[in-house]
Symmetry: C2
Amino acid sequence: MHILIIGAAGMVGRKLANQLAKDGHLGGKVITKATLHDVVEPTAPVGAQFSSTLMASDFSLPGEAAKLVAGRPDVIFHLAAIVSGEAEQNFDLGYRINLHGTMELFAAIRAVGDGYRPRVVFTSSIAVYGAPFPDAIGDEFFTTPLTSYGTQKAIGELLLADYSRKGFFDGIGIRLPTICVRPGKPNKAASGFFSNIIREPLAGQEAVLPVSESVRHWHASPRSAVGFLMHAATLDLNLVGPRRNLAMPGLSVTVGEQIEALRKVAGEKVVARIRREPDPAIIKIVDGWATRLDAKRATSLGFKAETSFEEIIRVHIDDELGGKIA
Amino acid sequence: MHILIIGAAGMVGRKLANQLAKDGHLGGKVITKATLHDVVEPTAPVGAQFSSTLMASDFSLPGEAAKLVAGRPDVIFHLAAIVSGEAEQNFDLGYRINLHGTMELFAAIRAVGDGYRPRVVFTSSIAVYGAPFPDAIGDEFFTTPLTSYGTQKAIGELLLADYSRKGFFDGIGIRLPTICVRPGKPNKAASGFFSNIIREPLAGQEAVLPVSESVRHWHASPRSAVGFLMHAATLDLNLVGPRRNLAMPGLSVTVGEQIEALRKVAGEKVVARIRREPDPAIIKIVDGWATRLDAKRATSLGFKAETSFEEIIRVHIDDELGGKIA
């Protein structure tokens, strides 16, 4: 089995490649080859039994997507994206990568022809939704994004469903919750604080909380994100039918509940490292975000996420901190 | 005021141009100029007080959309499309015109710059929905099209909303019901019979009914379609907000109710010209179509359609047959 990961240098892409290397198989089939692609060259996963081909290019440029699928990968994970904040600031760049890149990829898969029909797993986002929302967003709620990023993801979903319906590939789109706790350095994404207020205090650093504790949001751990991707890659899509885009399960918690969970797991000394510093710009952005989903379909199809924020924190401590708190 | 109609040679485009010519103004402003565009050269509306520029081109080709908006029209009606059946048979053609053409147009409007911000009225369709449906499709029901045409329209809607949000133009998308009674010759569209079984008998001709009388569908007259377009062109979009795509009101009737209305308006002799000839292919297609919408938002915003099928038939007799039945 040959696997292609587009966006393999990103946080989720790296974790996915490492998990595949650790497992050595996917859906009962031995992985013989991985092609790892990003705009910068990804690193090969450690300890893999399969061979890894590393590629760097802008897949939105003419001819580049064809190179990615020329080796006829059996499973394609499409994780590449300009993130929300950057796509909002740079309209042309966001559309070029997130929309035209995806269109080029889908067209390139179709162009292979000759019975080639890979599984395509497309990472979408809860950014496809736009406020106002019902108490919980159901599986049949419409997509009225309030960002260019969300628009580009919603369009990718529509294309994925149509290409799948036409038999050009076998696609499934998964709407990821906000991934928390993101490892690494604090970044300037508007959603960054959801992770920062857990990760930094656990590492002995101060973190800034720019919104009120009453802010509610929809989370899953990086480990769950990798689990979603691998389940999507192996799921019987006859069970899914023509509605190929699924909201993933997650956990709806307030910032206050996040902090309370941190207190339980790591104690008051760690919680004291969170500094309140309200930021009206971030408050306004976060106000338009989904707070709670009712991901019935995905749950019934076997997708699983954490059920408490303490569990999400423990996943971070296990996977990123070697089990230790500063 | 300068008006551009793209798709001006089509049935609705011609009726719209004629109505604008008759009125001479739109939303209280005098129309001084109309640009009428299609892939074949449209005809100028009769009796217009404004000057009409007639253009024929493939607006999806590089540079062509820019020519359409170079004269900075104040209102742009975008009616151009490869119809559902053809877009399904010819995947590349449908995507080129319905998706890339629309993208080229939106990009060309943005590229004018210099404060140019026209009203853009985009004709979408109930084909953005895909079965299974609730009893009545509400304003927040999701778009999971089961045709490439529906996919292309749903994508156009998303782009329209994002370009409007970014201030590149002031757009509104309207999801038209099936237009009934369509004037002209019977065509091979799967939806053709909804009109054929009324139009042909009224003209003294036999018509074929390929589905059962229990089939329910969502209709509005050509006159209502023109009314929707003109209302969309003049509506205060602050009332609409960021959710710029609206399902239009219509009438939900069964084929049996259509026939009963025809009997009341035109008598048994006319109804007897309908011949039952079930067509499994058409039955299957129609089975996936929307049967009833609950178009609350559009109705509250002042969009109006017929409230009985007899009224729809009388509109046809008045507008197309000079009030006479064969």
